[in-house]
Symmetry: C2
Subunit: 198 residues, 2 copies
């Protein structure tokens, strides 16, 4: 059997709760010809998450309560992509709104489907270098209370170990950004030689 796509035979909307989410039920045909009658897809808005780094090498992060998690945790500045907005613009807007910081050097790190089965929207990651404070955080029209926190990459990893980073997008965005920075200088040059390091 070859790696190929499933075929969608039928789709119906089973829950509409816009602008927050929609749920679809699909009838699909698998690679081997069998059909599944109830494959569910959860449509959520795309979002952008930023990994802002100051010239001194500190991550600009926030502490905020997220109801999906049920507690306060350390997270990347992030937010939903508005209709008609590019993910980069979202990232720049959210960085300013949530932290009062702006950055001069932006690099896209990729877009990733949140759940391989149910979909659940797409996460767009950005690295933002030379982040500097230019305003007060203001969070217009938000249900969020946000505290800004500067943290070193080393202490970010400690926070992950201690369970203080609760969200998948945060751990994914910051880890990928740190690796991308390491890779700029060559992973081998950093000692990350798979033959000897691992």
């Amino acid at each position: 059997m070859q790696l190929e796509s499933w075929k969608r035979l039928e789709i119906s909307l089973v829950l509409s709760a816009l602008p927050w989410l929609e749920v679809y039920k699909e009838r699909v045909q698998l690679e081997d010809g069998r059909t599944l009658d109830d494959f569910y897809r959860v449509a959520l808005p795309d979002f952008a998450a930023v990994v802002p780094i100051t010239e001194a090498g500190e991550l600009v992060m926030i502490r905020t309560y997220k109801h999906g998690v049920g507690r306060v945790s350390l997270s990347s500045p992030a937010g939903l992509v508005n209709p008609g907005e590019s993910p980069l613009l979202t990232a720049q807007r959210e960085l300013l709104e949530e932290t009062g910081y702006a950055a001069s050097d932006w690099r896209p790190l990729g877009g990733f489907t949140v759940d391989g089965n149910r979909q659940c929207g797409k996460a767009h990651f950005f690295l933002a270098r030379n982040a500097t404070r230019v305003a007060f955080a203001h969070n217009p029209d938000r249900n969020e209370v946000v505290e800004v926190q500067l943290i070193s990459p080393h202490n970010f990893l400690r926070a992950v170990e201690q369970g203080d980073v609760a969200m998948l997008a945060t751990v994914g965005a910051v880890s990928l950004a740190m690796l991308a920075l390491l890779a700029e200088n060559g992973l081998r040059a950093t000692g990350f030689n798979p033959e000897t390091t691992l």
Copy 2:
């Protein structure tokens, strides 16, 4: 205003599609006393994702079609946590089923809520060192066609850049595992000195 939890005032089930998902609508009270009438929570099963590394320093990954993504991509061995199963057992079972590999050295890297607002289940990450092939992949009772692929950490990062890693859990698990390995030797010792590197 302080960082504190929202209060759940009411909850109702608006979609039940077990064992795949449930959707709840909550009425909640925010930090500032206001209430929201329609906060949606998507309950999905937890899953475990493994980052298996061979003694030669290669990542053991799979290529498979995921319908939530709509295409074939490179991913970590992963799967849903069965009722009564620990996430570690899930990770060990999935590694064997999807790749035919087993590993002698397991390290949990944390559990992360998939979506900070909608929840969407929890992802549990594991680093599995000394991975060796012990069997054929078999994938019992699965709707998946899977190809096993060994890839170096360097080429994994290239695959991310080229869009070949489509899922958030894969990029998160592998990036975090690589950083954790680097951190074992000290991030500074690897050249990852935030004052000079970034």
